[in-house]
């Protein structure tokens, strides 16, 4: 039986979550030899509004490309968390920005709260790279793709001239995830 791993990246339009989805899918499909799809759902506005990007990773064919039984849900805003939590599977992982999402919905899932946006500002001086920090955290927590593959996919997808800061952001995310795991113990996956 083929495995199917579902990731939903949610937040506000303009936070770069579609890019993160494309990078993650490319890492899995091009560099790790798996199948992957990335799709998105957003409103007509260029900035703002709840926005989501979804990645399905499988070693078999992917028919339906939308998430229904999510393994890991990233929520960078309270609105996105409230709106998109419904499809998180039992025992799945809810990864939240600990400062943006203060009211954690009730349910049977594991919560990982990390100050993602604050870390981007304090450690890299740019809130813009919050998305890639989140990608680093997801890569570490999920183990679904290799770090090297994600690193290559970042280089191929981010705008020219921003590769280095994004790679630094990616490793910042991995480090934050490792720190969380050291303090809280391993996740059940």
């Amino acid at each position: 039986m083929a495995f199917r791993y579902e990731v939903r990246l949610s937040g506000s339009g303009g936070q770069g979550l579609i890019l993160v989805g494309k990078v993650l899918a490319e890492a899995a499909a091009i560099y790790d030899g798996l199948n992957a799809t990335q799709s998105q759902s957003y409103g007509p506005e260029a900035r703002g509004g709840a926005s989501r990007s979804e990645v399905i990773i499988s070693d078999g064919d992917i028919d339906y490309p939308k998430a229904e039984n999510i393994d890991i849900l990233l929520a960078l805003t309270q609105e996105a968390c409230d709106k998109y939590i419904v499809d998180l599977k039992e025992g799945g992982v809810l990864l939240i920005d600990s400062q943006m999402v203060t009211k954690i919905p009730e349910g049977n899932f594991q919560v990982v709260a990390i100050p993602i946006i604050q870390s981007a500002v304090e450690r890299l001086g740019k809130f813009l790279v919050s998305n890639i920090i989140a990608l680093g955290i997801i890569t570490k927590l999920s183990g679904i793709v290799s770090e090297d593959s994600v690193k290559h996919a970042i280089r191929s997808r981010v705008p020219k001239g921003t590769e280095e800061i994004n790679i630094t952001a990616f490793y910042t995310g991995i480090e934050l995830a490792q720190k969380w795991l050291d303090q809280n113990g391993p996740l059940n996956t």
Partner: protein, 380 residues
């Protein structure tokens, strides 16, 4: 980590469409940006100049369709891409391309309608508009892809059919496929079987642009090659000049419609899964067919004899194929993101001989595999 294969791309459906157009020989694109089709224009605006082609952003969709026709008359393989409201605007000029027999490709990445509707959400509401959006009795070819790879293949096929039959061809995609990113192994260009329009073999003074010949498909001269001829949307005779002669009009319009009808077996393509012993048949197309396939596989795992018939060609309608494949089944389910545009045709094709259950959704969200599965297991 594996060493990546340079022919394997992680492409969005719209990017695959643009790249396939280039591979098929498209050297002209005119358009007006509209979500969710804009990436096609974006990619071609960058890529066409690299291969000696031309990209024009026109003042609106009407002009874009006109420019596409003009470029094709000049000898270029030409394309335009749009969505719902823009597709409505193009209709009159699509009729001109049909009447004047100008090969071209029109991509409609469907979004929710009517009107400006849901710009960023998928729908399949233009099944009928793609057939009858322009006025008058006319033939049309419409293809509908369900994946990124198929978007590539069908875009190439759309150009080939347009060139072969001197007709506009519509690629009816949707937001889900157009904005879906997935793995594509790009086929080598020599495997694509590129077709080019038939050029006249006679001298310019003997050339009849709308000649009645055995194939029903007249040869097409490029403007600028010394073949001076008249192009009009008015009813015309073999020379291309308008005529009021009823016999000449009748014979030309019959040929115009017959030239697609008689080759329908070459044009119509379907795909089947598990239909051999099925007693429930799911019919779908475009992105919804992905959910339908999963629903059928899930049903088979539970021992339910469900099968899938996927329409790759929408028009000419695969009525004979549907009639034949559905003959032994007791129930047909048609899943589509509209209120039953294909279902109605399926009822017609099967002469209402068995129940046709509709699974429809028009709120911008895709139909899920479970929604189709529930229709499969529902008691009749």
């Amino acid at each position: 980590m594996e060493t990546p294969n340079p022919n394997v791309k992680m492409w969005q459906g719209n990017v695959a469409c643009a790249e396939a157009a280039l591979a098929a020989g498209c050297r002209f694109f005119a358009g007006y940006p509209i979500t969710p089709s804009t990436e096609i224009a974006e990619v071609l605006s960058r890529r066409l100049p690299m291969v000696g082609g031309n990209f024009i952003q026109m003042e609106d969709e009407i002009a874009a369709m006109g420019a596409t026709i003009g470029a094709s008359l000049g000898g270029a393989k030409a394309m335009t891409a749009t969505s719902g409201p823009g597709f409505s605007l193009k209709q009159e000029n699509i009729g001109f391309a049909v009447m004047a027999e100008v090969p071209c490709v029109i991509v409609n990445v469907q979004r929710g309608g009517p009107s400006t509707g849901l710009p960023t959400h998928a729908a399949q509401g233009e099944v009928m508009q793609s057939r009858w959006g322009t006025h008058g009795d006319h033939p049309i070819i419409v293809l509908s892809p369900c994946s990124v790879r198929e978007t590539y293949d069908m875009t190439v096929r759309a150009f080939n059919l347009a060139e072969k039959y001197r007709t506009p061809v519509i690629l009816l995609s949707d937001e889900l496929v157009g904005h879906l990113t997935e793995k594509v192994e790009v086929p080598p260009i020599e495997q694509l079987g590129i077709v080019n329009r038939k050029k006249p073999l006679v001298s310019p003074d003997k050339y009849l642009p709308y000649e009645l010949n055995e194939s029903d498909i007249p040869a097409m001269a490029n403007f600028g090659d010394g073949y001076r001829y008249h192009v009009t949307g008015l009813a015309h005779d073999e020379t291309g000049f308008p005529t009021n002669n009823p016999e000449k009009i009748q014979v030309q319009l019959e040929r115009l419609n017959r030239k697609i009808d008689r080759y329908r077996d070459d044009i119509v393509e379907i795909e089947t899964h598990y239909t051999e012993d099925a007693d429930i048949l799911v019919i779908s197309f475009g992105s919804t067919a992905r959910s339908a396939r999963r629903a059928v596989i899930n049903a088979r795992e539970k021992g339910i004899k469900a099968g899938l018939l996927r329409l790759k060609t929408i028009w000419p309608f695969p009525d004979r194929e549907i009639e034949e494949i559905s003959a032994p089944v007791r129930k047909i389910i048609v899943a589509e993101m509209n209120l039953g545009q294909i279902a109605h045709e399926v009822e017609w094709a099967t002469r209402r001989s068995k129940p046709v259950v509709r699974v429809n959704k028009i709120n911008g969200e895709p139909i899920t595999p479970n929604e189709i599965f529930n229709a499969i297991i529902a008691q009749d």
